[in-house]
């Protein structure tokens, strides 16, 4: 049984502005920049929203609606720091978390050893977020993403609204139709038919909805019954991390000096990976030559490497593969396909969940060795046309094509 917690809080850009200018807490604040700029509103405080300012409006219109508002620029660095802090705080109480600009999700499926009941667990999550952000969120707990978000939307800050399993449809029934994130055209047609709440739509027969509105109608019907089936989309670590080292004394042609430089680079990159609790699935080594040329080599690692000792054999192998044709001025080592170094939370109820990562790694190693077109994933074309042989499509297995192995300016 899946359980999802949604916590809604003021936009992180607004929180960052309040941290920087505490005196603005009681003022109408609009985040996005100066009103002269042709930019949209990113976030607005409650006082500004009361005056009619909404996210997405042009800043000039926001100024017309609320002339007393204070306009501040979005501090992206502070927002990023707040987001990372929130992720770190939530990870201590939930195995899968997701943090957006104004809402966060946490997986409350199963049970927690330190929090015996779901309510206690939810309170712990909300408290962790409140301590980190300095603002008590409005939280909702339900069996699916949409219902949890709706519960949080209609709840008050500092409160946790819980929808028990099986009571989703009853909870949604009195709510207005515009709260459903379904097809706007379908919702407006339903409204013209006099169906003004989710319960009225949920009471319709599924076959009737499909007949009248097609797949969009089915989606709206599922939402109205609280059966969207979506959960937490867990936060994923950054995909790459790189280190660059300019060699002393300009161009270096001595292999031993290159080896020493590569060792230093490996140690600094490995230390960064270790500090961030990440492990690399692939490595790219770029040698920047005097005169602008470059040579590069890459490798998918047989096992994820998360510290200098694990990285070093692969770096040595890359150093043996790459063939610079001029003295080398700088080295650049990039770790790709980063995963959490401590592993990830396994889905105990899905057979073969632990195996999936190993298979994906095997696929990437084979593609690295034999080429990307040798391992394919079959699929069906969305619009195959009249010819039956066009029904099938082939995609590269394991995701899109990675960056080219030879960097710009490199010799073939």
């Amino acid at each position: 049984m899946s359980r999802v917690l949604c916590a809604r809080f003021p936009h992180l850009g607004l929180l960052a502005a309040w941290r920087r200018h505490p005196e603005l807490r009681a003022e109408p604040v609009v985040v996005g920049g100066a009103p002269e700029l042709r930019l949209p509103v990113v976030a607005a405080s409650a006082a500004a929203e009361a005056a009619g300012v909404r996210a997405g409006q042009p800043l000039r219109e926001a100024q017309q609606r609320c002339p007393a508002a204070v306009f501040v620029a979005l501090d992206e660095v502070a927002v990023e720091a707040l987001q990372q802090a929130a992720i770190a705080a939530l990870c201590t109480v939930s195995p899968a978390v997701e943090v957006g600009d104004d809402e966060a999700f946490a997986d409350l499926s199963g049970s927690h050893a330190m929090h015996p009941s779901e309510v206690a667990w939810a309170v712990a999550v909300a408290r962790a977020l409140a301590v980190t952000l300095g603002e008590a969120p409005a939280a909702g707990v339900a069996g699916s993403r949409f219902v949890a978000r709706t519960a949080a939307r209609i709840g008050a800050p500092g409160r946790v609204r819980r929808v028990r399993d099986g009571e989703e449809a009853a909870f949604l029934a009195p709510l207005p139709l515009h709260l459903l994130p379904g097809d706007r055209a379908v919702l407006s047609r339903l409204a013209t038919l006099g169906l003004d709440c989710a319960g009225a739509v949920a009471s319709l027969a599924l076959a009737d909805m499909q007949r009248q509105f097609g797949p969009a109608g089915l989606a709206v019907h599922r939402l109205a019954r609280g059966q969207d089936g979506e959960g937490v989309r867990p936060w994923a670590p950054p995909r790459t991390m790189a280190e660059r080292l300019a060699l002393d004394g300009g161009g270096v042609a001595d292999l031993e000096a290159l080896r020493r430089g590569a060792r230093r680079l490996t140690e600094s990159l490995g230390a960064r990976l270790h500090a961030a609790a990440l492990a690399a699935g692939s490595l790219d080594l770029h040698l920047e030559e005097e005169g602008g040329g470059a040579a590069a080599a890459s490798r998918v690692l047989p096992a994820a490497a998360g510290n200098p000792d694990e990285l070093w054999p692969a770096v040595l192998g890359l150093l043996g593969e790459v063939r610079p044709e001029a003295p080398v001025a700088a080295l650049r080592l990039q770790a790709g396909q980063l995963i959490s170094g401590g592993g990830r939370q396994l889905d105990m109820w899905t057979g073969g969940d632990a195996r999936r990562d190993a298979v994906l790694r095997g696929v990437m190693r084979l593609q690295d060795r034999f080429g990307g077109d040798t391992l394919l994933q079959p699929g069906l074309a969305v619009d195959p046309g009249d010819l039956p042989e066009r029904r099938g499509v082939w995609e590269r297995a394991g995701g899109p094509q990675p960056a080219a192995r030879r960097i710009a300016g490199a010799r073939p």
């Binding site: 073969g352 696929v363 034999f370 040798t374 039956p388 099938g392």
Partner: protein, 289 residues
């Protein structure tokens, strides 16, 4: 008597310490888990009720040149397996059609298709081995014609694939044309011969292929079992499947294995839709394999 008693005790102690498979008598059946295919006609024919785990099974075409149903059968098995696990398919002939696979009921998201460079079998087997080692529990390998002459080049990868399958308990199923190459015939733990009996027609249209299935070799049980199956092709309003046919009489089966009892009937059901004995499949249906 005392000797046999102490021997029994020793065997019992060894089995307790090292597992039941550590010591076995020569006439004991080889313990092997099976993957139940879900096709009654196959599960009742195969020893143990399915394809053996950790071993190489071969669907061998029994007629050189011409459709034998082995490829369709392999793809039908792949489709069944894909509904419950990750599967890989080594497509050496390069003829796999995703649409056809979907019509057989496959979950395409669980399918990986391996097409080695220049259709080199050795590389294809090495890639299959890597996938098996990585944890893919079901691998199908489709072979084309003319591989026997280069058998020595893929003998070693085939052995390595067999060892990987054994250590991970994966199902490895080949589809190979006649004559079976010597290394594959040797490595196979279960060889299922596919002999075409004739097209299956309904309303003047070819809708399937009737195939006789023989267990030609089995290291996990007694060979010799046989059955007849109808490999029904997917059609616009029907998925493809494999269903059983009435068992052949021995004398009819012995005559070239092409005929079935000449039962007349109308309709689409396997039992009533059989055509006359001795019907030879005509070219033109590519999916039969």
């Amino acid at each position: 008597m005392a000797t046999s008693s102490s021997l029994a005790e020793a065997i019992s102690a060894l089995r307790r310490r090292y597992g039941d498979a550590a010591v076995r008598r020569g006439d004991d059946p080889v313990p092997a888990g099976v993957w139940a295919t879900g096709l009654p006609v196959l599960d009742t024919t195969l020893t143990g009720g399915g394809l053996p785990l950790g071993r190489i099974a071969v669907l061998a075409g029994q007629r050189p040149g011409g459709p034998t149903g082995r490829l369709t059968l392999l793809q039908a098995l792949l489709a069944i397996a894909s509904r419950s696990m990750q599967v890989a398919y080594v497509d050496l002939p390069g003829t796999l059609d995703p649409g056809y696979l979907a019509d057989l009921g496959a979950d395409l998201r669980s399918c990986l298709v391996v097409r080695p460079p220049e259709a080199a079998l050795g590389q294809g087997l090495a890639m299959a081995r890597t996938l098996v080692r990585a944890g893919v529990p079901w691998v199908g390998v489709a072979l084309g014609a003319g591989l026997g002459a280069r058998a020595r080049t893929w003998e070693h990868p085939l052995t390595a694939l067999g060892e990987a399958a054994w250590s991970t308990r994966a199902v490895v199923c080949f589809s190979a044309p006649a004559p079976l190459a010597a290394p594959l015939a040797y490595a196979s733990s279960l060889t299922l011969g596919c002999t075409p009996l004739g097209w299956h027609e309904a309303h003047g249209d070819v809708v399937g292929l009737r195939v006789h299935l023989d267990v030609l070799k089995s290291k996990v049980g007694a060979p010799g079992a046989s059955s007849a199956a109808l490999v029904r092709y997917p059609r616009p309003h029907a998925v493809g499947d494999v269903v059983g046919l009435p068992t052949l009489l021995p004398q009819q089966h012995g005559e070239g294995r092409r005929g079935v009892a000449p039962r007349r009937g109308t309709g689409d059901s396997p039992a009533s839709g059989l055509s006359a004995a001795g019907e030879v499949p005509s070219p033109g249906k590519t999916a039969a394999g």
